[in-house]
Amino acid sequence: MPTDSGPGSGVTGPAPNTTPVEPSLTACEPDIVETEPTVAAPAPRFTAPEPTLVAPTPPRRGGREVIYRHSVAVRITHWVNVLVISLLLMSGLQIFNAYPRLHWGRFGADADHAWLEMTALNPDADRPTGVLRIAGHQITTTGILGVSRGADGSIRQRGFPSWATLPGEQDLATGRRWHFFLAWVFVINSLVYLLFGLFNGHFRRDLTPSSEQLRLRSIWRNIVDHIRLRHPTGEEAKRYNVLQKLTYLVVIFVVLPLMVLTGLTMSPGVDAAVPWLTSLFGGRPSARSIHFITANLIVLFVIVHVVEAFLAGIFNELRSMVTGRYTIRTEAHP
């Protein structure tokens, strides 16, 4: 047993895990330069004050038009985020695993009520049963949550499985080192994005819904279009639709800041310096719970984001996020 108020199960992980399994949300594909049967129209170079989101080039045969969609700042910060958020998530799950229970309020430890818990029902058995307890319900999750097979093949009690955590084995100290390093990279990357967004008009031009987009009727039409998986063409395709804009705005200005602030709230140093933040979230255990929920919202956003990118045409979408150029169809939707 460790001595004093030490971090228990921390540092005794065996050899590093090298399982190359990654069911990841990381859409960090290699640069895909597909041979689209189109004539590549020269994209306008990125210059600071772009007049519109789309700098149109003349329509070409076949009803296709290549527009310049993403500034270099958006593209770089996007791909940095793909990498950093994936690793933040995985190192975050490593940290969560050190104490896989969540509480609300001022305090929360073993003896206190947990609203979410991952545990083993019979931890010493040959084949223990892993369960997720959430808000009074219990779900058997052996193999995934509570109990799972490690990289070395042994079945163990752990919150999230080793393929989802960084590092793979239980190693809180290294998980924390990764997480705080990545958190700094994330914050710096976000500041770069926010500054560019403010100064080159990205937020105002690309993300702020127009008053006509915000009419109930057009929002309703947009919802129906999403359900029918119908994607806009022509002029409408040159800008984000209203659900897209609202989602990006919520993620950028609510979800991600909430992630950073709840993360900071868990720091006892920050709590002493900025105690109102802890009060705002209702206590450190509450902040930890919100941090966890917000992380899940980000995962949900990424899944929808990637699915939508596939539905809208993954090559076109990927190309636009790599080169900035985006092809739109000018004819009516079939």
């Binding site: 047993m1 990654e22 104490y99 929360g108 700094w184 140093g269 002493a272 450190r284």
Partner: protein, 259 residues
Amino acid sequence: MTRLRLSRRGLIGAGAVGVGGLMLAGCNRLSASPSFQNFIGGAEDMTFASQRLLLAGQPLAREYKSSEISPIFKSNGTSMPSGDAYRALLDGAFAGYRLVVEGLVRRPSQFSLDDLKGMPARSQITRHDCVEGWSAVGGWTGVPLGHLLRTVGVAPRARFVVFRCADDLENSLDGSGQYYESIDLFDAFHPQTILAYAMNGRPLEAPHGAPLRLRVERQLGYKHAKYVMRIQVVDRLDNVAGGKGGYWEDRGYEWYAGI
């Protein structure tokens, strides 16, 4: 066209999984590399510098009402040091206990528990935040470390205060060391940094570090050394035990545990 798309999609999917897998394997390998650990550990310096900036005015950690105390305060790590010496002290209600204060001080001294209880005391109800993620609220009474340090007189060269604990060799995880911790003078002279001999209005019990435990509010639980037997004032940490300034620090955890 559709067929082509599907196969391309498959390719992308396989590519993503492949890249992801390589990335994961790469990250795990990087985790094992000391030089990479040092590199990402550089962020710790940024965290430390920013927190010192935030805490420059020496604000107090949040204090709670007695009605807000955790019903059960979790005892983590050691709950009973092994070894006859500690057992004898415990059996004698710590009448034979002497806190040794030595190192870069003008008057190296020893204090009995009664000596410490006779000094000015501070009581505080604070939240204990474990690095693992749990929190517990408890009340502590003890002598401010700053008062003790002023009593013995700190030499100008001094930079750190090291706490040596009663946990003996056999009791550590891998048998390699005694529990110890260290803080710098910035935290040592903070009004809430106390050597606590009472918890929730009762004498400190063995599971919580009797007879004396450090409270260094604004840092994580592993800094709050239990069973403090000896205090050494030093100018450097690299020649103390494992060289990283603490038991868990020698095992990979950050020396500055404000986050």
